[in-house]
C-alpha cells in the first residue's frame, strides 16, 4: 500500500548508550562471570567454513587519540562467495555456507584497548539495485559508554585497490581522502593474515560513519 504523506503509526524507540557494563548482557565472561551455556563470540569460523582465514584487529580512539577500553563491536559480513546468510539475499549462483553465519561480537580489551575477530575474507556482494558489485567489505557497528546511538561503518581491504576504486559506496565519500579511513591494512604475522583497522571516533583522521 502507498502512504506517501501520512504519519507512521509508530515511532522508532529512542536509542540510549550501552553504558560501561554492556559486557554483562552481551559478553558476560568479559564482565567476569559465566552464566549462559552457549555464548556469542568473536570467532566466526568453524573448521569447515569456506574461505581465506583472516584476523581483523584494531583499536577505537577517542577525541584525544586515546584508546577506549569499553567498546562493544559487532561485525556482519557475507561469506567467501559474497552471499549473506539471510533470507533476503537471493543472489543467484552464490551458495550459502552453512558453516558461516557472518556475525560476531567482541569488546575492546580492558587493558590494551585492542579488539579482534577471527573470520574469513568476504566475497563481493551485488550493490544497490544489482547495478554494480561492491568491493569486499565487512559492516561494523559500535556501541559503548558515551555513544548515545550505535555507530555504523564499513571495513574494506588494502589489497583490493581495484575493487575499492570502483566501489559505489567508497566512491561516494567526499572528500576522497576520507575513504582511506575505511580501509584495513593487510599484513602477515607468523604466517597468518592480519588486517588492522583503527576507528577514530573524533578529530584528525575521523572514521567515516554512515547513516544507514
Amino acid at each position: 500500500m502507498l502512504h506517501p504523506t501520512i504519519e507512521l503509526p509508530l515511532h522508532e524507540t529512542a536509542s540510549q548508550t550501552a553504558g560501561p557494563y554492556v559486557h554483562i548482557g552481551l559478553i558476560p565472561h568479559q564482565a567476569g562471570f559465566d552464566i549462559f551455556e552457549k555464548n556469542f563470540s568473536n570467532v566466526l569460523v568453524k573448521p569447515e567454513t569456506k574461505g581465506e582465514r583472516i584476523r581483523l584487529e584494531g583499536r577505537v580512539l577517542d577525541g584525544t587519540g586515546s584508546p577506549t577500553k569499553d567498546i562493544l563491536l559487532e561485525i556482519w559480513q557475507a561469506n567467501a562467495a559474497g552471499r549473506y546468510n539471510h533470507p533476503a539475499d537471493r543472489q543467484e549462483g552464490k551458495a550459502i555456507d552453512p558453516a558461516f553465519r557472518g556475525w560476531g561480537r567482541t569488546g575492546t580489551d580492558f587493558e590494551s584497548g585492542v579488539w579482534h575477530f577471527e573470520t574469513i575474507k568476504p566475497g563481493r556482494v551485488i550493490g544497490r539495485h544489482g547495478h554494480k558489485p561492491m568491493a569486499p567489505h565487512i559492516n561494523l557497528w559500535l556501541a559503548a559508554r558515551g555513544i548515545n546511538i550505535g555507530l555504523s561503518t564499513r571495513i574494506y581491504f588494502s589489497d583490493e585497490a581495484e575493487a575499492n576504486a570502483a566501489d559505489p559506496v567508497l566512491r561516494m565519500v567526499d572528500p576522497p581522502g576520507r575513504r582511506q579511513t575505511l580501509i584495513a591494512e593487510r599484513s602477515v604475522r607468523n604466517g597468518a593474515v592480519v588486517y588492522t583497522f583503527d576507528v577514530r571516533l573524533q578529530g584528525e583522521g575521523e572514521t567515516v560513519f554512515f547513516d544507514v
Binding site: 524507540t13 554483562i24 548482557g25 551455556e37 577517542d62 577525541g63 556501541a143 559503548a144 547513516d211
Partner: protein
C-alpha cells in the same frame, strides 16, 4: 518481496545526537563530522538470524538463571511486551537481550566498584527470541538506582538495558527501559540526551496489574519499535536483488 524492502530513513529528531555535553563521556566519543548517508543495499537490509537452540531454558528467567544458594533478593517482576516496526507489524523470531544491576543498584561487573553488595544469586542478564507475534517476556528482580560519575551527585533511575536486532543490521538498537513513576527520571543526565519529550516517555514501562501473578510477581509492560520497511513500488529491481 517484503524481506528485501529498504528501511525507512531514521528520524534523527527522535534520537539522541552524538554530542551531548550533559552526559560528559559523549564529549570525546562523538564524531564531529556529519554521518555519510548510505542508501540500503543487501549489506544493510540483511542481518544475523538466531535460533532457539542457541538459548538455554532459563535464559529469560533472571530469578533462576544465576541462583546458587537460593533466589535473589528484591522485588520480583515480569517485564513483557512486543517488538514492532514503525508500520505496527510484529518483528518475529528476533533476538532480545537485556542486562541490569541487582536490587541494590550493583552490577556484576569487574569494573563496578559501588559499595552496595553483589547478590550471590543474581547474575543480571538474560535473552529471548520474540515469538511469531513479536512478543517477548522475562522474569527478574527490579533493579535499584545507582550513582555514576558525571555530575557530582548523579544517580541513574532504575533501568534495564535492552539490545535488539530485528531482521536487518540497520535495525540494530541498544536502549534502556525505565519504570513508571520513578522520581529520578526527570533528573537523569542520560535520558536527557533524547531531545523529544514524547520519545523519552516511550522508554518508560507501565505497571501492568493485569499480568501480575497474584501473591508472586508484579508485571511491567514495554513495547519496543524498530525501523519500518517501505514497500517497493516502481523501482528498477534487477535480477539478484
Amino acid at each position: 518481496m517484503k524481506d528485501t524492502a529498504e528501511f525507512f530513513q531514521r528520524d534523527r529528531s527522535l534520537q539522541p545526537p552524538a554530542f551531548t555535553p550533559v552526559y560528559k563521556t559523549s564529549v570525546l566519543r562523538s564524531p564531529r563530522l556529519a554521518l555519510w548517508s548510505l542508501q540500503n543495499s543487501l549489506s544493510e537490509v540483511t542481518g544475523p538470524v538466531f535460533g532457539h537452540d542457541e538459548l538455554g531454558e532459563l535464559d529469560n528467567d533472571l530469578i533462576l538463571n544465576y541462583a546458587k544458594t537460593g533466589q535473589p533478593i528484591g522485588e520480583r517482576i515480569i517485564v513483557h511486551g512486543r517488538v514492532l516496526d514503525e508500520n505496527g507489524r510484529a518483528v518475529p523470531h528476533s533476538l532480545v537481550e537485556f542486562w541490569q544491576a541487582n536490587a541494590g543498584g550493583r552490577y556484576r561487573h569487574k569494573n563496578d566498584t559501588y559499595l552496595a553488595p553483589i547478590d550471590p544469586n543474581f547474575g543480571g542478564c538474560g535473552r529471548c527470541i520474540t515469538d511469531e507475534n513479536g512478543y517477548y517476556y522475562f522474569r527478574t528482580i527490579k533493579p535499584g538506582a545507582y550513582p555514576f560519575r558525571n555530575r557530582v551527585n548523579d544517580w541513574r533511575p532504575a533501568h534495564i538495558h535492552f539490545s535488539l536486532f530485528g531482521s536487518g543490521f540497520a535495525q540494530r538498537l541498544i536502549t534502556q527501559m525505565y519504570f513508571e513513576g520513578d522520581p529520578l527520571i526527570p533528573h537523569d543526565s542520560i535520558l536527557k540526551v533524547i531531545p523529544d519529550e514524547a520519545a523519552r516517555q516511550r522508554l518508560v514501562a507501565k505497571l501492568d496489574l493485569n499480568n501480575t501473578v497474584p501473591l508472586d510477581t508484579i508485571a511491567y509492560r514495554w513495547d519496543i519499535v524498530l525501523r519500518g520497511k517501505r514497500s517497493t513500488l516502481f523501482e528498477n529491481k534487477l535480477e539478484g536483488n
